[in-house]
């Protein structure tokens, strides 16, 4: 008999955007984090192309599962469950992961857990810093999301406090990188240039920070336009565009608003822990400013290593393991991918709260996509 501990051994599958991720965890311990990315295929399009991502997921799915099992050194038959991102995300991309997870769970006779992508981004920190404090305040920032979330129980109670009303923070980085002809994705390259620039060189606007603005919501569209206009004015005047200063000043505006609002949310709700996740959490200026502001406010900052902040399967496995540990209901075999799964739905329990029972007719269904279903 293989050695067993009481901590659940879970495999997680993530395909909500352009990374095919398969992770394996035992409780709070990371055993494998296999990721196949199609980011290079999207670069020339200046953004993620859904159909390109879906095709890449299909190709990478089985090999990535096998790579994760090998890396973890565990046998699939010892798994206690299979978790998968059920949403939110790109409809066609999610569907590849959900279909694979269902087939895998069914073939192995294991329970299936369809879980929320945003809650997974928060839960991944358990692999880095141990059990999440309850409640945890989370700031999630990436090319797809910018949200402030209060999580009293990551498996059942996640409350949205604020989110972006226009672009996601990562999108703003991509767009400014494009205006500066720095390529895609924009986050890492802006971060790099910014290190040589002066963050106070240009005072760009801080969105939604006026006295009457929503306290926890974000807006990056006005900032993006202001930066583009500033650059265009320089170019029109035949002047040199100081890329490091523009990058540093733009980044400063984004990071200033993100950290200010996150710390404010912690104070307002009496929460002494802030977790930052999502791809933009890899930004060095965001980390530094969050550290300083949290320290000043007596808040403990938790930021996982960059590889766990970007989309990956380990985060899904981490939340799946927590679902198993807390005895949450598993999903049914008719689990669907839901591109707009609300953040409050931490997981998608089956109609009868039992994975091995199927309901015959299901009279409601989720629209998989608005106009892209057949293409």
């Amino acid at each position: 008999m293989a050695r067993r501990t009481d901590e659940p051994l879970v495999l997680g599958i993530e395909t909500s955007c352009d990374e095919t991720g398969v992770g394996i965890v035992r409780g709070h311990t990371l055993l494998a984090d296999a990721v196949a990315s199609s980011v290079d295929e999207h670069a020339r399009f200046g953004g993620v192309v859904p159909e390109v991502a879906s095709r890449a997921h299909l190709e990478a799915m089985v090999p990535t599962i096998q790579r994760a099992l090998k890396e973890a050194g565990v046998s699939a038959k010892d798994l206690d469950g299979i978790a998968v991102t059920a949403g939110p995300g790109l409809a066609g991309a999610l569907l590849v992961g959900v279909s694979a997870a269902k087939a895998y769970a069914y073939a192995l006779g294991k329970p299936l857990y369809g879980v929320n992508h945003l809650a997974s981004h928060i839960c991944v920190d358990q692999l880095e810093h141990g059990a999440l404090p309850e409640p945890t305040m989370a700031l999630l920032v990436s090319g797809g999301h910018s949200s402030l979330l209060l999580a009293p129980d990551i498996t059942s109670d996640v409350r949205p406090l604020g989110s972006t009303i226009d672009d996601a923070a990562g999108e703003a980085f991509d767009k400014i990188a494009r205006v500066l002809n720095l390529g895609f994705p924009g986050g890492p390259v802006i971060d790099r240039y910014a290190r040589e620039g002066d963050p106070d060189a240009i005072r760009f606007p801080r969105g939604l920070t006026g006295p009457r603005d929503p306290i926890y919501d974000f807006s990056f569209s006005g900032l993006k336009t202001a930066v583009a206009r500033w650059i265009e004015a320089k170019r029109a005047a035949g002047e040199h565009v100081p890329v490091p200063d523009v990058a540093a000043s733009f980044q400063e505006a984004v990071v200033d608003v993100l950290t200010r609002k996150a710390v404010r949310a912690c104070k307002d709700h009496g929460v002494d822990h802030l977790m930052i996740g999502g791809g933009v959490a890899a930004n060095t200026r965001l980390r530094a400013m969050a550290e300083r502001r949290c320290e000043d406010a007596g808040i403990t900052l938790r930021v996982p290593r960059p590889k766990l902040c970007t989309d990956n399967g380990a985060m899904v496995a981490a939340l799946g393991a927590e679902m198993v540990a807390r005895g949450r209901a598993s999903s049914s075999w008719d689990l669907s991918a839901d591109s707009s799964l609300p953040v409050t739905d931490t997981h998608v329990p089956g109609a009868h709260g039992h994975a091995h029972e199927h309901s015959h007719d299901h009279d409601h269904f989720h629209e998989l996509s608005k106009d892209n279903l057949y293409s």
Binding site: R44, F45, G46, V49, E51, V52, S54, R55, L58, E59, M61, V62, I65, Q66, A76, A91, G92, L95, V96, V98, S99, A100, K102, A103, Y104, Y106, A107, L108, K175, R178, V179, T225, A228, R229, E232, A233, A236, W333, D334, L335, S336, A337, H358, H360, H362, F365, E367, L368, S369, N372, L373, Y374, S375
Partner: protein, 222 residues
């Protein structure tokens, strides 16, 4: 031999078990928008009806299209994952070949064409010398552009039914969508006679719609 066949390349969500001699159980539901939800319950139902567990299966058969991509991928990734989990082979077949084989089982003889709906006013199609012999590569075209090549030929499938102007001899009493039972029967016959299969990769036939953006739009008012 116990084959589990799946196909999600047409509006049908279809799964069947075949023991090498005949179809043991089949489930076919036509619902083009719910492939992802319906396929696993269909497999579960078919196995339940036959009273066997998935691990009794000796091979997976899957229709690899052509078909609308989102749905098509559901069947293929399901088949590939089953095969990996069970360590059994997966046999890919052109979806149009399954529909042609079903037409043959229903009595259609001689030359004919099979066409399915490719959306965007196009069809996926291929031409057959008989129910087992495809003579053209599967293709995607506007019906009007292939009217000359298919005129007068018996035509099978929902794509033919949709465009009677191009397909002048539509046999709409024959199955219009895929049946996994027919697909499995074709696979069983090929396995017996040493016929060839396709890899479990989708026949997309179209490149993804994606445009390399032109230079970024200037935001300063002119």
């Amino acid at each position: 031999m116990l084959l589990l066949a799946l196909d999600t390349a047409t509006p049908a969500v279809t799964a069947a078990l075949h023991d090498g001699e005949s179809v043991v159980a089949e489930s076919t539901q036509v619902d083009a928008r719910r492939h992802g939800e319906l396929l696993l319950p269909a497999v579960d139902r078919v196995l339940g009806e036959a009273g066997v567990k998935l691990d009794a299966v000796t091979g997976i058969v899957v229709g690899v299209g052509p078909g609308p991509y989102t749905g098509l991928r559901v069947g293929i990734v399901t088949a590939a994952t089953f095969a990996a989990a069970l360590s059994v082979p997966v046999h890919g077949l052109c979806t149009l070949d399954g529909i042609a084989y079903a037409a043959g089982q229903a009595g259609l003889e001689g030359e004919f064409v099979v066409a399915t709906d490719a959306r965007r006013k196009e069809v996926y199609w291929a031409r057959y010398a008989d129910a087992r012999t495809r003579v053209t590569e599967p293709a995607v075209d506007r019906p009007a552009d292939l009217a000359e090549r298919v005129a007068g030929l018996p035509a099978v499938g929902a794509g033919a039914v949709l465009y009677p102007d191009a397909f002048t001899d539509v046999r709409d009493a024959l199955p219009q969508h895929q049946s996994a039972g027919a697909l499995a029967a074709l696979a069983a016959e090929k396995l017996r006679t040493g016929g060839e299969f396709l890899p479990d990769q989708p026949l997309y036939l179209r490149r993804p719609d994606a445009q390399v953006p032109a230079n970024y739009k200037v935001v300063t008012p002119q």
